[in-house]
């Protein structure tokens, strides 16, 4: 066997398996077929490969295409559940972390802890004071309502103040006579003032001497409300 023949023989041996499985390029396939035509005995090797291929294919056990599928799906379902659980845990973790960090920072810095406690105490005090004040206001409002609604009877004073009289002047005039404002001011600027009947004359004279008062009249009964 000369060198050229030997080279051709090696090339044929190299290409034969691919010729049998049908993946050779057109050029290589043509070369193999030419070689077999000129070396008829080489066809036996192709036949052997073909026989080998047939037996290898036949020897692979036929299994159902679903082999292992249920196991895979179980694995996938388990993973999905794990992922869902992990996401839920992460969401809770994200919510709790700032709170936990804040609490941890309080313990790590006593000054902040004291400040936070003091803030809470002050807030509680303010809320308590507001609550008490609200109760008092409600009581005052109730008292006022009871006075306002109590029907005034008997003689009253009808007092008109000068136009330049201030609110403090009016309040001081009422204090001077020990009177209680039960009505007014009306359309003409009159205030209705109640004092005990036995002191009504004295009170009227006192008011008349007050520089802030324009006029004072004694009425037997308070005017009827419109």
């Amino acid at each position: 066997m000369d060198e050229q023949e030997s080279t051709m023989r090696r090339r044929f041996a190299e290409l034969a398996p691919w010729h049998v499985n049908g993946t050779l390029s057109q050029a290589d396939r043509a070369w193999v077929e030419d070689y077999v035509r000129s070396h008829p005995k080489a066809a036996a090797e192709l036949q052997w490969y073909a026989s080998l291929q047939e037996k290898i294919k036949a020897d692979v056990p036929q299994v159902a295409p679903e082999i292992g599928l249920e196991r895979l799906l179980n694995r996938v379902h388990l993973e999905k559940r794990r992922v869902a659980k992990r996401q839920a845990e992460n969401a809770i973790e994200r919510m709790l972390t700032p709170v936990r960090d804040f609490v941890a920072s309080l313990f790590l810095r006593p000054a902040y802890a004291y400040a936070a406690v003091a803030l809470v105490v002050v807030q509680a005090g303010v809320i308590g004071a507001l609550f008490v004040e609200q109760r008092n206001t409600e009581q005052e409002y109730a008292d006022y309502r009871s006075i306002a609604t109590a029907p005034a009877t008997g003689p009253v004073l009808r007092v008109s103040f000068k136009t330049d009289a201030r609110e403090s002047d009016i309040r001081q005039a009422l204090v001077d006579i020990g009177g209680t404002l039960v009505g007014g001011p009306g359309q003409l600027g009159e205030y209705i003032v109640k004092v005990p009947a036995q002191r009504i004359e004295v009170a009227a004279n006192t008011l008349r001497s007050n520089s802030a008062v324009e006029s004072v009249d004694i009425a037997a009964e308070p005017p009827v409300r419109e």
């Binding site: 023989r9 041996a13 190299e14 398996p17 691919w18 049998v20 499985n21 049908g22 993946t23 005995k41 080489a42 036996a44 090797e45 036949q47 052997w48 490969y49 073909a50 026989s51 080998l52 291929q53 037996k55 290898i56 294919k57 036949a58 020897d59 692979v60 056990p61 036929q62 299994v63 295409p65 679903e66 082999i67 292992g68 599928l69 196991r71 895979l72 799906l73 694995r75 996938v76």
Partner: protein, 190 residues
Amino acid sequence: MDLSNEQVFALLRELGAGKESAMRVLYRAYSRTIYAFALTRLRDAADAEEVVVDTMHEVWRHPDRFRGESKFSTWLLGIARHKLLSMMRSREPVHEEIDGLEETLESEDAGAFELLAEKQRREGVRNCMDKLPEEQRECLHLVFYEGYSLGEVAEVQSCPENTVKTRLFHARQKLKNCLRLLLLRENGNG
């Protein structure tokens, strides 16, 4: 059933959206290919099934990793190969190599091939295949069962094409000699 890459891409997109129906289609199309490949190396049905499940699980987890640069089945068998190799790492090799036969019987006469083509039996082929080194047995499976080209076999086996040629050459020699010995033994006994 071998799907086109377009069909595979469509299914992989659905897989990415979490559709199990797409997984069922892909699984039924390729499970037997992976199983046969794994069985060639592992020679254990349960282990081969495990490789099928592991491989398809990998596809489920990373459907975007297939770029379409090769056939989908080639890409799949590449994954399967990694799975089965890691499975085998912890195990002792069980095959009885037949390197000796390669040197003692090197006859290239056409008569030997003729005789083998006519007389070799399935059990004999299986017996001799089992004695080949795993890389060579795997190579023969990819060439003759899957019908892969030289480039595709090299891709699955993660090696240069020349390595595939060498593996195939040695497998051919050992297989041929093993089969001839079997026939001689049968004739001697008969």
